[in-house]
């Protein structure tokens, strides 16, 4: 028996809202969902679990029609659907009395219930969210029935305000498989009987890495799971190491190469790390032009020898300035930046260094 386990598709979400990518990403979520359903035409599965948050917010009637149409194209797959905390069953939700295709089972109450999958000896236990948050531990006492066949729990949550649970309790509660949703990072729990497929497409900058769905088989009481990347793009964190002799062009070349290697479709979050020469300033805007680079963080520090400088300038403003920061324990990000900003300004406008620069200039001419 084969199945696909999806969750947190978040149809209707607009990642990167406000940039040109916003609309593109909104459409890509729908496209990827459609592609997953269509893949079932070529490689049929018996069961499809959608463990909550299919929609980013309350679904519209026309959206349900589109989704139901897709389900109707895979009539020999039983589809199990629950509403999560994002698309929870509001009073007037169109979810409530939508006439689903015959192969779709929608759990339309917050109370747990069990549904049998047509002629198959498969029993699915699930429910829906009727509110945004459910702090109660609803899953702690759910146990499978005695009927021969497969017993599957489809559940959504796992944090403080969304049905907290301990995966060990769930894994040992007797279900053949627990199809989880809500956490956007894919994760298969030890024992392989409970898993989060993660969000189908990454929905914000924190969701880096691969995204997709889980495909599995039940065979002689064993579950075999494998993860299938399906997202159109990934967020990729790239850190470029900077040394004192690193130049802007050098950075640009390295980033270009990385983008070429990892795919230019991906969305890049670049951070510059290391110690740069104190008189170098990098231009993030030029890096942003190299592809889908959506963020450049300059975390480099000027290569000042603070101790050495403090000693040399002790008794003067520069010395006191360094000391004022060194007195503090654990500088915050802003304080550290302030230290380097001030120091750079003081040392760069220093008459002596200016004179050296001028004489150099004259020599070069």
């Amino acid at each position: 028996m084969k199945f696909i386990h999806l969750a947190d598709v978040h149809l209707g979400a607009v990642p990167e809202r406000g940039s040109a990518l916003g609309e593109v990403r909104e459409g890509e979520i729908w496209k990827t969902f459609r592609r997953v359903i269509e893949s079932i035409h070529d490689d049929p599965v018996d069961l499809l679990f959608i463990a909550g948050d299919l929609f980013h917010r309350q679904p519209l009637l026309k959206e349900l029609r589109e989704v139901n149409y897709l389900f109707s194209t895979i009539p020999s797959t039983m589809v199990f659907l629950m509403a999560g905390n994002h698309d929870y069953l509001k009073k007037n939700s169109f979810y409530r009395d939508y006439p689903w295709a015959e192969n779709v089972i929608f759990f339309d109450e917050e109370e747990m219930s069990c549904a049998k999958a047509g002629d198959l000896d498969v029993y699915v236990y699930s429910h829906s969210y009727e509110r945004k948050e459910i702090p109660e531990r609803l899953y702690d006492r759910v146990r499978p029935g005695n009927e021969p066949g497969l017993h599957i729990l489809m559940a959504h949550g796992g944090d403080q305000s969304h049905i907290p649970f301990d995966y060990r309790t769930l894994s040992t509660s007797g279900f053949d498989y627990v199809a989880l949703g809500h956490i956007h990072k894919p994760q298969i729990f030890p024992g392989g009987r409970a898993a989060y497929p993660g969000s189908l497409e990454p929905l914000d900058r924190n969701e880096d890495g691969s995204h997709g769905y889980l495909k599995g088989t039940f065979e002689n009481g064993e579950v075999k799971l494998s993860f299938f990347p399906a997202a159109c793009r990934s967020y990729v964190n790239v850190s470029l190491n900077v040394k004192e002799d690193t130049t802007q062009f050098d950075l640009e070349d390295r980033l270009k190469e990385l983008i070429l290697e990892k795919g230019k479709n991906n969305l890049y979050l670049v951070s510059l790390k290391g110690r740069r020469s104190p008189d170098t300033v990098f231009l993030p805007e030029r890096l942003m032009e190299l592809g889908n680079v959506i963020e450049v963080r300059d975390d480099t520090r000027p290569a000042f020898q603070l101790g050495e400088l403090e000693r040399r300038y002790s008794g003067t403003l520069v010395g006191s300035y360094i000391a004022a920061f060194r007195e503090k324990e654990n500088l915050t990000e802003v304080e550290e930046k302030a230290l380097y900003y001030g120091l750079t300004a003081l040392l760069e406008t220093n008459n002596v260094s200016q004179k050296i620069a001028n004489t150099k200039l004259r020599k070069d001419q």
Partner: protein, 515 residues
């Protein structure tokens, strides 16, 4: 602290040179390019070490400048210094790969630990920068009086604000503010983009809101119409039903009539032969009339049946009309729920968007950091002014008065650090003073600053060719003042005047000839 002896192994253009200094006045005489400045640099490098600059700064730094062409492995030397009845020997080699340093106390026979700060302690905490700013006084580079005033003024401002004359606080502040402006512009741009996006969301919210209101209105008028239509239809239906009922009754009656007539005709047909036994035309006529009228009545009743089915058709039409009315109302309320869902979703999106926009951007963080840098710098500068301010002015006045034989009594410093001088009878600005006097003011300022910055620590004063512009009287006054000061003085010069005047004035000094 004083320097007793120095042995230059190999440093710049000097090699194997040994000089012994006196604790009082020393005059090092040499022609131009004979290495006087090299000796000053050597002393500084012996005291503070000579680090190679890293990266691009390495070209033209002191390390490279003074690295000997021959025997670079012997780059370095020995310095003998004394402090508080203890004699020390400081040995350094600056050679690449083979640098070493050693501080040995000759009095106690103890090797001291430079890494642990023993040398720093010996130097009384005077840092290299303070040393450069105060201990060692180089020749003024200014050619014209105007430049000299500028230099004096700059020194005053920088020194008062930073304790370091090479600092340019104003330019540093300007640089910070310019950088901040860049970030603020970026932030403004970002804010504008966010606002545009939010406006988009808000206008679709408002649009949906209006749509709902319109639907509401429509529903209301539709509701009225619906009710009207419903009662009208109800009345119509009742009418139709009544009509059908009456028609049915009429048919019934007619049928009864027809039946009655037919029965009457039959009765006639049975009775007439009895009443009128002979065949009569009347007999046939009566029966025929009865039969025909019965048939006629029956046929007539049929036309009423057609009327009923017509009315029934109208009833069906009426039902359809009512259904349509009902369906319209339903579709409006369905659209209404849809729009309300859209509105709710938009409301949530706006909320999420607002929350996300509240997070501080990178530019905001940078701005905050620069603000902090400016704030701390201003605070520290204030501390320096308070710490130095009036004491500097007072000491400077004393020195100036002494070396000008009371001609210039008092130095005045305005809040914006403009220097003025109080003479015996009036206050004058620097512009109206002679070059020689300006040099004297500068000397007083440097000496006063040195004392203030060094605090209790008595350090040598090293004067590198500073008296070139002094006339004989001024020079004699300055030398007298230096001799009176309780510290070691090292004067280097390319002129013989210093030695001559010292001899003439009977001031003891040690003369060292270079080259």
């Amino acid at each position: 602290m004083l320097v007793r002896r120095l042995q230059i192994q190999n440093f710049g253009k000097i090699s194997d040179e040994e000089l012994t200094l006196s604790p009082g006045l020393n005059v090092i005489y040499g022609e131009n390019e004979s290495g006087k400045t090299t000796i000053h640099t050597f002393i500084r490098c012996m005291l503070y070490g000579l680090q190679r600059s890293r990266g691009r700064g390495a070209r033209g730094d002191d390390f490279t400048k003074y690295e000997p062409w021959e025997n670079p492995g012997e780059y370095g030397g020995i310095l003998w210094i004394s402090k508080e009845d203890h004699d020390y020997r400081l040995t350094r080699s600056f050679a690449r790969e083979r640098s070493m340093e050693e501080l040995f106390c000759e009095t106690t026979g103890e090797i001291l630990d430079i890494d642990e700060g023993d040398l720093e302690e010996l130097l009384g905490g005077i840092s290299e920068t303070v040393y450069e700013n105060t201990v060692s006084v180089a020749q003024l580079k200014s050619v014209t009086g105007k430049e000299l005033i500028q230099e004096l003024q700059n020194y005053m401002i920088s020194y008062q604000g930073t304790g370091d004359a090479s600092m340019d606080l104003n330019r540093a502040m300007q640089m910070l503010k310019m950088t901040r402006k860049g970030y603020m512009t970026a932030e403004e741009k970002r804010k504008k983009a966010l606002e545009a996006e939010r406006n988009k969301l808000e206008s679709s919210f408002n649009y949906t809101y209006r749509e709902i209101e319109e639907l509401n209105q429509k529903q209301k008028t539709m509701g009225e119409k619906h009710a009207e239509g419903k009662t009208a239809a109800e009345a119509e239906r009742k009418q139709y039903e009544k009509r059908i009922l009456s028609l049915k009754q009429t048919i019934k009656m007619l049928r009864y009539a027809a039946l009655g007539t037919a029965g009457f005709a039959l009765l006639l047909a049975v009775l007439l032969p009895v009443v009128l036994p002979s065949f009569s035309w009347l007999w046939i006529l009566a029966v025929l009339a009865g039969g025909i009228s019965a048939g006629g009545i029956f046929l007539f009743s049929g036309s009423y049946g057609e009327e009923i089915s017509r009315v029934q058709k109208s009833l069906v039409m009426l039902k359809k009309r009512e259904d349509k009315l009902e369906w319209n109302a339903e579709s409006i309320s369905e659209r209404m729920i849809e729009k309300r869902t859209v509105l709710d979703n938009l409301r949530q999106e706006i909320q999420a968007f607002d929350e996300a926009s509240l997070e501080p951007s990178q530019a905001q963080k940078e701005t905050e950091a620069i603000n902090l840098a400016i704030e701390i710098m201003e605070h520290l500068t204030g501390d320096f002014r308070v710490g130095i301010g009036d004491r500097l002015r007072q000491r400077m006045s004393e020195i100036l008065s002494e070396i000008t034989d009371g001609k210039y009594e008092e130095v005045l410093i305005s809040p914006d650090f403009q220097i003025r001088i109080n003479t015996e009878n009036r206050i004058v600005s620097l512009e109206s003073l002679s070059r020689g006097t300006l040099e004297q003011i500068y000397f007083a300022l440097r000496m006063a600053a040195g004392e203030l910055l060094c605090g209790d620590e008595v350090f040598p004063v090293i004067l590198d060719d500073v008296f070139g512009m002094y006339d004989e009287d001024r020079l004699a006054a300055a030398l007298h003042w230096l001799y009176k000061e309780p510290r070691q003085v090292i004067i280097s010069t390319c002129s013989k005047r210093e030695a001559e005047i010292l001899k003439r004035e009977g001031i003891p000094f040690k003369e060292i000839l270079l080259g």
